[in-house]
Symmetry: C2
Amino acid sequence: MATKDYVLSLVERAERGDRRALGRLLTILEDVSSETAWVLEYLAGRSRGAHVIGVTGIPGSGKSSLISRMIRVLRDKGYRVAVITIDPTSPLSSGAILGDRLRMQEHATDPGVFIRSVTTAGALGGLSLSALAMIEAFDALGYDKVIVETVGVGQSETHVMHAADTIVVVTMPGAGDDVQALKAGVLEIGDIYVVNKSDKPEASKTYEYMLFVAEKGEIGRSGAWKPVVVKTSSTLGMGIRELVEAVEKHLEYLRNSGEKLSRLSSRRRLLVKLLAEKIVLDLLDKVAEEELAKTHEGLEGFYKRAIEIARTTGEKLLNLKIQ
Amino acid sequence: MATKDYVLSLVERAERGDRRALGRLLTILEDVSSETAWVLEYLAGRSRGAHVIGVTGIPGSGKSSLISRMIRVLRDKGYRVAVITIDPTSPLSSGAILGDRLRMQEHATDPGVFIRSVTTAGALGGLSLSALAMIEAFDALGYDKVIVETVGVGQSETHVMHAADTIVVVTMPGAGDDVQALKAGVLEIGDIYVVNKSDKPEASKTYEYMLFVAEKGEIGRSGAWKPVVVKTSSTLGMGIRELVEAVEKHLEYLRNSGEKLSRLSSRRRLLVKLLAEKIVLDLLDKVAEEELAKTHEGLEGFYKRAIEIARTTGEKLLNLKIQ
């Protein structure tokens, strides 16, 4: 187990630019437990107000290449950029994700860029907690922009998306039915909508459609911000500057309206809840293992045994000490 | 909330073949809570030893069509068949899943077949619990075969797969890299491996490869059962009878070796644990909502507040009553 001194030394070294120390710190945060939860408090106390940008959208819309292009523009503006890629899928699709990561490889040697993926290696539902914990670390360590990329399936990402300051939803020409499907999903949470691959012939039709639904107020979060639609081509590098400008404008809006603070607050509240869940489930896991090892049958009385496990977990929770 | 009398009347009506009552019962089980958990105990007490068949594999391998074909053969043998489709994805991919369900539509009017999907409408991690609860219902109601189909991504399905008596892993010709990726994922859990779409030219190469790794013991669960490889084409209806024979042979093996009972036992133990988790998380959810509503800031002290939420949940757990 990571001692307090060791974790603090990692933070210190990471602050001085030691990437390996940062990597280790992130590994601890990826599987934060009741023993290491204090570090979140510590990091949050050092928050420098990073801008958290969520990027989501339909599979195949070229999110990773787009982010890679965005990083270049953000770096030109002098920002330090962190990317957290959330992958809730099994090893089945690891090939695809690996490809995505390679697409961002061009920034591997840039000391102002740090890319990290979070996979389902941890507990269920733990993906969101891991990502939120990493956001706190990057924020404390002075990264100006923290981009959270999700592959766009599952519930945990929706979670994280809601925790972002600015949400970019990526779609592409000819997505047709997909765009309709999107409406039921992420279309309502975006601040900025990107029609990527806009070098394709059907691009303007999709773009017009997005503008139309944006105008009608059918997409976007509620609030004073009117969603922006941007055409890009990550292959040709087109529209990237416009996209970054829109992202910056949204940050300005958040700051002026006071929403930046309220988004930080809801992100922290989500973190509190997920952390509490993690603490409780970790305990329950141990209790269940002990309880279920007692009998090997498990063929009857299991409802009572579930309640018993829940109660024993309750008892242990009362003895929980703050580190 | 569903009263005890109401739930019992649903079970009774479902037993007499009332499909609408069965549908309602499944809806209750999909979101089982501490109030309705007793029904699981009740259903489990009426278990008739259904054969639970898990079907998993790479996306696009034609699992749904294959299952549809299998149902026909199983029906010819006089079995009653239930299908549970697990869909851990967001609305983003609902189109695809809808298509899958349509593929099984041909059985919609057969009173001996019941098809139900479970989506992420419920809580995170709740997918497995919903599926396990539904298995208990179908088992108690006399379905001989309960097929659990997963779209093949995410952790929750791996969970459910481990709870099946017989696991069928579906791949297809030319999957190449995917097969390699599969090795890291589900290839080690299969009892029967299917090379579907075997009308395609590269089919025999993939088939030979699967036979080779099966022979070498590189795939399949540990135990005395030697994994079987079957070539099928769900489009042409080829190899389906052979697949069903392999599934039946595996059941015979499970019965003779005593493994049928031990798999039931581990399925029930998983159910106990997931049920306990659900009970605890439901409580935590309420506690967190109350706690987090108290302050709207959430900018400091959140580590202590997480512990506080966990403790309060613990207190409430001690007051839990068995219904």
